[in-house]
Amino acid sequence: MRAASLDLDLEVFQGPFDLLLTLVLREEVDLLEVELADVVLAYVDHLERTGELELEAATEFLVLIAALLELKSRLMLPGEEEGLDWEPQEAAEELLARMLEYARYRAAARFLHERLAAESGFRYRSAPVPRALRRASLEVAEAAYDPELLGQAIGGLLRMPPPLDLHHIPRPSVTLDQRLAHLRKLLSDRRSFPFEDAVAGADRLTEAVTLFALLELYKAGEADWQQKEPFSPITVSAPAKETE
């Protein structure tokens, strides 16, 4: 959307932005009474609503609002303030000079556009030079490179690269032995405990290894375990001691 057609709903004005501009320039709306911040807010609202920032339209808006701000700030300067004896004509003259300069480059840009379009039919050749002409010919070739270059390149290749730093990748390291020891300690301390307790706060890999350790203990006759139904809690217990 062009910035000019931005819909405004201000205290002193309702309608599209470009109409506001026209009315301001015709003095049918007093610029001093226009809250330019509201215009900016309306534009930002519009951007948020549509969710797209079209660069051309945004640029146009910025140019227009900047011109309005400049004009308004000059209108607001108290005329009698000392040191700021800018006549209204001077202010306007400076603005005018800048607008004329911009108009010149806008027109020059149009010229370039047209020129580029007119040239678009001409294509230049970009084929590679024939292979034979791409090489230095052997007969007339002269030393152009330093052999040290090769020594340095091969020396660089001999350098062992530093080992890759992987410490930022968390690598869970848990061994079966560790988990076996963990379960044995729980068994001797408590005789019976929920499996949940054995893996409290552990990651998935540790859980898996712990379960595997439990199966090992069961196989070796060091532990029993019970689960009433699938997915229900598992209770681990020391086997009844036969020799006691």
Binding site: L25, Q89, L96, R98, A103, H113, G121, Y124
Partner: protein, 190 residues
Amino acid sequence: MNELARIVEALLFLSAEPLGVTELAGAAEVSEGEVVEALARLREHYAEGFRGVVLREVAGGFALATDPVAERAARRLLARPRTPPLTQAQAECLAAVAYLQPVSRPEIARIRGVASESAVGTLLERGLIEESGRSRFGAILYRTTALFEKLFGLAGLDSLPDPARFDPSPEEEGELRDRLLRAGDARSAG
């Protein structure tokens, strides 16, 4: 076509960039005057409108290019458009650089009334402008490239039209002035 004209034709055919008279004379080991003469002969052969290939004077040198008559077929053959068009912002920045070079980005921004980073960046990327030292205040200066002249079919920067040609007409200027002055009067009235 004499031998020198044939050689010049072959060199222009091979070279990806426009070649100047000096380069051509150096390669062919003849005087620049002889090259100029050979180029005149070539130009007869390559008069626009008769051949599929034309001789163009661009970017301070000479180059062979295809005639627009073949553009449609070329696009089909090469399956790519020639150059993407410029956006309005890019064209304005390019115009400022072309006419004011060397010129800094703040200066471009002042003329356009908006920051121009993105457009200047794109022009740099596309090789249409390049850096050209620094201003007294340390800002990077920009100028146009040979590619710019080539793509815009300019024999040189002299071939750019007088920028005064683009100034608003006295009527437009007068209207603008009236509007602004009225706004200014409002101030003194208020």
